[in-house]
Symmetry: C2
Subunit: 204 residues, 2 copies
């Protein structure tokens, strides 16, 4: 009973921290805000997690994990290359639609802590070689045009992430602030991105 309660408090704190850090960033987040969000006292945060920096590291690592390895795995589905591409885009967009601030958070913090990414990547053992191999095979087989695998991968990820990260800009400039239009846009985007990419790389 006691042990269970401990875990609950610890988890509550981390969940609250994720919410606050991802929304406001390290510099903008307040320990008081996290405590309020978790429904506990500020002192308890320090009891469980020694410092703000320490708590941030945990959140940051989780965020990076959610954004990279879990998604890369989605490219390991069955089917043809184009089918895998569609699954990948679908999975990626679904995840970041649910956590729209996640990519922006990681990108923002990464610019101030580049070392941490290098370290975390090493720890998480992120490897995209199998995707690169896949692409090269498709090129050799004449199914897609000759394109640098790195460029192709970045293109796909750019098309997925950017519209979500830059939501205010997209709604503001393109949709004149119309949120419904943006929602429709995002919904149709999954097939659109895949279509757009495949149309570009498919050999005729």
């Amino acid at each position: 009973m006691k042990a269970k309660k401990d875990i609950n408090t610890e988890e509550k704190i981390v969940e609250a921290a994720e919410k606050v850090f991802i929304k406001n960033g390290m510099a903008g987040a307040r320990m008081q805000q996290i405590a309020d969000e978790a429904g506990i006292n500020k002192a308890l945060l320090h009891y469980y997690y020694r410092s703000k920096e320490k708590l941030f590291s945990i959140v940051f690592r989780t965020a990076l994990k959610a954004l990279l390895p879990n998604i890369i795995k989605s490219f390991k589905s069955e089917g043809s290359f184009f089918e895998k591409l569609r699954v990948f885009v679908d999975t990626y967009l679904t995840i970041i639609e649910k956590n729209p601030h996640l990519p922006g958070f990681v990108i923002h913090e990464l610019n101030h802590r580049p070392e941490q990414l290098i370290q975390t990547i090493a720890e998480l053992d992120i490897d995209i070689q199998f995707i690169i191999d896949d692409i090269n095979t498709e090129i050799e087989n004449g199914n897609i045009i000759n394109i640098s695998p790195n460029d192709l991968i970045i293109n796909v990820i750019s098309l997925c992430i950017f519209p979500v990260v830059a939501r205010p800009m997209v709604t503001g400039v393109l949709f004149k602030g119309d949120k419904d239009e943006y929602k429709t846009f995002l919904k149709e985007r999954k097939s659109h991105v895949a279509d757009f990419v495949i149309n570009s790389i498919k050999t005729k």
Copy 2:
């Protein structure tokens, strides 16, 4: 002489503020840091610009202006649609290569101040209708496939901005931290993005 000196100090402050705000964001920036960067005293900042918030607004507005209207104008060049597209991509990538933190800054702050964008957009009179018209004409003339103009515009901007905004992630994951490889990648990206887009939308 006196008036000239005033202007210089004012300018020095704004330039320093741009540097510090764009790098660290509103929450992470320190007035002391800006003063140091400008080579003046902290009190002088408040003498010229009443508050941090006020100084930030000026920087934010300038940043948004640099990122949106100036670039949109680049689509008004001469030539065919595809040529205009190439000029646009080239201009956009050149600008954000010179200010790699600019898009990330705007995007990050925008998520905390969506209202400010709406207002600033209204003030800056940003209008992309002529681009939409261009695209629709190309579709009608059968030069490009039937694509939603909004999607096409966002695709191009995504492909330009994302790799620069997410530089640490790109270098970290794809290039294993190799900065030279990233530099080469960016250099070749200008033509690559245009090729990739044109290849996707051009009617066969």
